[in-house]
Amino acid sequence: MTAVPLRALRAREPGSRRLREVSGKVGWTVLAWVVAIAFFLPVLWMVLTAFKPESAAETWPPRFTFSPTLAEFRLVFSGWGPYVTHSVIATIGSTILVLLLGVPAAYALSVHPVGRWRDGLFFFISTKMLPIVAAIGPLYVIALKTHLLDSIWVLIILYTAMNLPLAIWMIRSFMLEVPSELLEAAELDGAGRIREITGVILPVISPGLVSTALICVIFAWNELFLALNLTVTNAATMPMYLISSVPQEGLYIAHLSAAATVASVPVIIVGWIAQRSLVRGLAMGAIK
């Protein structure tokens, strides 16, 4: 290649390449925003509708100018009492149980692995592969025979069972990150199994535990299928309240939106914290 075309090429290239790069970047940015807004619009609509009077909620095209009212929220707060109590008890109760059971199980599958730990690990996750619909019949009968139908305990137990496999996998992966020297140092220092877990392992993996707990909270809070089929009034949860706020006749969109907004707030807060602590949990391996 001679010098002249080379120089010509050099002179031309950077500009066009930069142009391509910039336009590429802009393209991706636009796409990302379009997707994000597409996901966000229904949520925005829900929140906006929650502040509308029922009469203004069902217009088409949707109106963005209206006089906001808290009437629907007042209605929600007057009716949600038992539901939110049940949800909180089922969510927190099951999450505590998940942690109490998940930590020893994860320990036995990672730090001092028991025989055939692979099979155990696979068994746990395989329970998530069965469609829950297939199990609802037997579950109903069992709940009926044990007099747990429509009791908060049936939800606590089932939510624990539902979240335990994922929790064990998560906690196990955090435990595997704990440097083996640390455990050996604890062993030399005379810490027994319990001390090893509570005094050395748990403090190290605490960010991971927090994110595990938060994810369990979200899943339990949002669960509808089991609650719908196994409870009626004594243990009905927030998702059931949303359903029950749809009346047989008449306008209900604004009311449903207000209820859904209220039900989403805890999830959004917890999700936001979980996302931060999950990053810390995943970065935990770096602190050595």
Partner: protein, 362 residues
């Protein structure tokens, strides 16, 4: 305080893998500073972990203070270990780290505090540092906390696995002497693992050289240097390493660089008894004396490494492929490309069996 004994102790990791530690017989005296040294993968860490109880034995036994501890769990062996990466508990403060073992033993809080403080003073860790977390400390401070955690326990044996390898060169030299000093003061039997032969030579009362899981020689640093039992020890101990060359035997000596090096009579008898036609001759760099043209070994200088006090000459001997290294005085070293000659005392030549590597009487 106690003596330590390995009796034919072996550790085999895999079914078909060679033993990581192969029938180790080693006796460490009460209060002794014993250094295990060897190249990477020679089984030093494994040997130490066997003593700590972190690695089971496949054969033989280990004793601490006359007691067979082969099947005793680590916490009941009355030992303390300093890990290479210190393994400090990240969520505990320095004081909690140091006091953890005492807490596990059920030592009351006052007593614990007193002993932690005492150890901290011994290691120049000031009081405000005791409340910090390990991640707020520098590498050197962490190293001292790890030492402190071991000292506080007042164990019968200290075990240390390359505790200086994460420090920078200057700090390593400083800490090296501090550890040796501390050990002398406390008088606690210590087993110290390193791959650095300078550390081994400067710190150990005695040094055990390992290679491929086997104990090569255990002796004082001086003895190792002056009287290596085989070619491996000779080549491993000393910096720069001993010059080792396979040389054919002739009447009265060995042929090297076109001349005949005189060998001591004892070596010649040993070689002829073994029916050898050649042997490995070893000469330490400082035993190649520059002799203004009158020396028996001639060669050409390839490279000069000036170290200040002295200089290292890399020299290609006449007719020989492998360059040798000679240590000379640093002021007026010859220049690269220059022809030089060396004089060697027959007594300074080590001779090794060319196949087994064993030292031939010398």
């Amino acid at each position: 305080m106690a003596q330590v004994r390995y009796v034919s102790a072996s550790r085999v990791y895999g079914k078909n893998a060679p033993p990581a530690v192969d029938a180790l017989d080693l006796e460490i005296r009460d209060g002794e500073f014993m250094v295990l040294v060897g190249p990477s993968g020679s089984g030093k860490t494994t040997a130490l972990r066997m003593l700590a109880g972190l690695e089971p034995l496949d054969a033989g036994r280990v004793e601490i203070g006359e007691r067979d501890v082969t099947f005793v769990p680590p916490k009941d062996r009355d030992i303390a270990m300093v890990f290479q990466n210190y393994a400090l508990y990240p969520q505990k403060t320095v004081a909690q780290n140091m006091g953890f073992a005492l807490k596990m033993q059920g030592v009351p809080k006052d007593e614990r505090d007193r002993r932690v403080r005492e150890a901290a003073r011994l290691l120049d860790l000031d009081d405000q540092m005791l409340d910090r977390k390990p991640r707020q400390l520098s590498g050197g401070q962490r190293q001292r906390v790890a030492m402190g955690r071991a000292i506080v326990r007042e164990p019968r044996v200290f075990l240390m696995d390359e505790p200086l390898s994460n420090l920078d060169a200057k700090l390593r030299v400083q800490t090296r002497s501090q550890i040796a000093e501390l050990q002398r003061r406390l008088g606690i039997t210590t087993v110290y693992v390193t791959h650095d032969q300078v550390e081994a030579m400067t710190m150990g009362h005695r040094v055990a050289v390992l290679a491929r899981g086997k104990l090569q020689q255990c002796a004082t640093p001086r003895e190792l240097y002056d009287n290596p039992v085989n070619q491996f020890v000779a080549g491993f101990i000393g910096s720069p390493a001993m010059n080792l060359q396979t040389v054919p035997l002739t009447d009265g000596g060995a042929r090297l660089a076109g001349t005949v090096l005189p060998l001591p009579a004892a070596v010649r008898t040993a070689a002829s008894q073994a029916g050898l036609g050649e042997l490995v001759a070893g000469i330490r760099p400082e035993h190649l004396h520059l002799a203004n043209g009158s020396g028996e070994l001639a060669g050409e200088v390839l490279l000069v490494e000036d170290l200040g006090a002295d200089a290292l000459l890399h020299v290609r001997l006449a007719g020989d492929a492998d360059p040798v290294v000679a240590r000379t005085e640093g002021r007026t070293p010859p220049a690269p490309g220059q022809q030089v000659t060396f004089h060697v005392q027959p007594d300074d030549i080590f001779a090794f069996h060319p196949v087994t590597g064993a030292r031939l009487a010398g």
